[in-house]
Amino acid sequence: MFIYLLIIVSFFYYRCLYPMLEVKDLCCARGEQQLFSGLNFTVSGGEIIQVQGKNGSGKTTLLRTLCGFSIPVKGEVIWNGSAIHEIDDEFHSDIVYLGHLNAIKEELSALENLRISSAISGWSISDNDALGALSRIGLQGRETFPVRVLSQGQRRRVALARLLVSKASLWILDEPLTALDVGAVELVQSMIKLHLSNNGMVVFTTHQTLDISGVEIRCLALS
């Protein structure tokens, strides 16, 4: 009896320590056109997956399905043993999604953008936390400028700063390197490395090459 209890407790303990994303027999379509089917993979703590494929092969659709925006034709996405549409709130507090759009307001400053977006994700961060994240991402001295006057690359950096203040364990990144210069690409790589070493997970797409020393990037090819 005691041993059974121990097994059950250790099972839940394991699950808390090692969160896991599972995709089972996923089939997605855009309109009438089927993009991919029979897709199976898992991501657990410390793992990183790159979704590869031609333009229009469904990379963005897959990432949006993982977030729960798009409903798959068949199959399901499972987070820690439960289908994501059943545990919306819990799941949403565990992921951070960076899409094609930067999700920043042009009228607001980088600081205001970061504080408001993290408040909407359920976390209030202090000015100091936000300023620290912005200077780490290379926006020191531009924190209070309206985003309107920043360049495309700097806007992408404001969006990336969300990753630094988030506590989510799963990062879903759609083309995170667009418009970034060499220095920023290295910064993103080091951010990903740190996140993985904290037992985080990353699912991303990119057409550039991401080279993180000591990290094995698994590839998932969509045909």
Partner: protein, 227 residues
């Protein structure tokens, strides 16, 4: 870092939208100026016959308020949809309905409340009595939030569609007819010497009903639009 409660999430959303509007004031003024102009056009077109104007006033003000609120509906979610912040809002771990409700409250404060505040001046233009102006303000104060709430539902449904602006009016205007009838009816009943309370009570019940359902329905509609 602190976990935010539902009420503070609501506050964050309202403050955010008000701040955005402060940085782009022209948008707020357009629907207010539209309202004032449409109401002012009627005396010019109909002529200066006092009895006729007094009789028309409640209907004219209410129809204009309805049209002015249609004008600003397109903005409620469209900007957030274009720059991707709406996606992030829908990924919020807490109730999305609360955040949508915050957006609706901010929208009313920016598009409904100014109409309520300017209405007494327009009432004088139509030679309305003091008592009817008071009832007009009260009816607008109860009625315009309903317009924002129902409008949010329409705006959420038509998000991202081509020609959504016209479509949202076609969708929402019929739903707002009861508000128009009881809102204008309240003022008319006072001018004809009857108590306005029954009309206002019905208007209030519409407000409660839409408060209860529309934030949730709009959140679901936004999810559908995001697919």
């Amino acid at each position: 870092m602190n976990n935010l409660s539902l009420m503070s999430m609501l506050g964050v959303m309202i403050r955010r939208d008000l701040l955005l509007a402060m940085r782009r004031r022209a948008d707020v003024l357009t629907s207010l100026v539209f309202f004032v102009m449409v109401v002012s056009l009627f005396p010019l077109a109909v002529g200066s016959e006092m009895d006729l104007l007094r009789k028309m006033a409640p209907g004219v003000v209410w129809v204009s308020a309805l049209l002015a609120s249609m004008l600003s509906l397109g903005r409620m979610f469209a900007a957030d949809y274009r720059d991707g912040t709406l996606e992030q809002t829908l990924l919020a771990p807490q109730s999305v309905s609360i955040l949508v409700f915050g957006k609706i409250v901010a929208h009313w404060m920016l598009s409904g409340l100014p109409l309520v505040l300017i209405a007494p001046v327009l009432g004088l233009q139509f030679d309305m009595s003091g008592e009817s102006i008071l009832v007009l303000i009260v009816s607008l104060l109860i009625g315009t939030p309903v317009l924002s709430l129902i409008g949010a539902f329409g705006a959420a449904l038509t998000l991202g569609l081509r020609g959504g602006g016209v479509l949202v009016s076609l969708l929402v205007l019929p739903l707002c007819i009861p508000v128009l009838i009881f809102g204008a009816g309240a003022v008319t009943s006072v001018t004809s010497g009857v108590s306005a309370s029954s009309n206002l009570a019905l208007l209030g019940s519409f407000l409660l009903l839409s408060l209860l359902f529309t934030p949730w329905v709009s959140a679901q509609a936004l999810r559908i639009s995001m697919e």
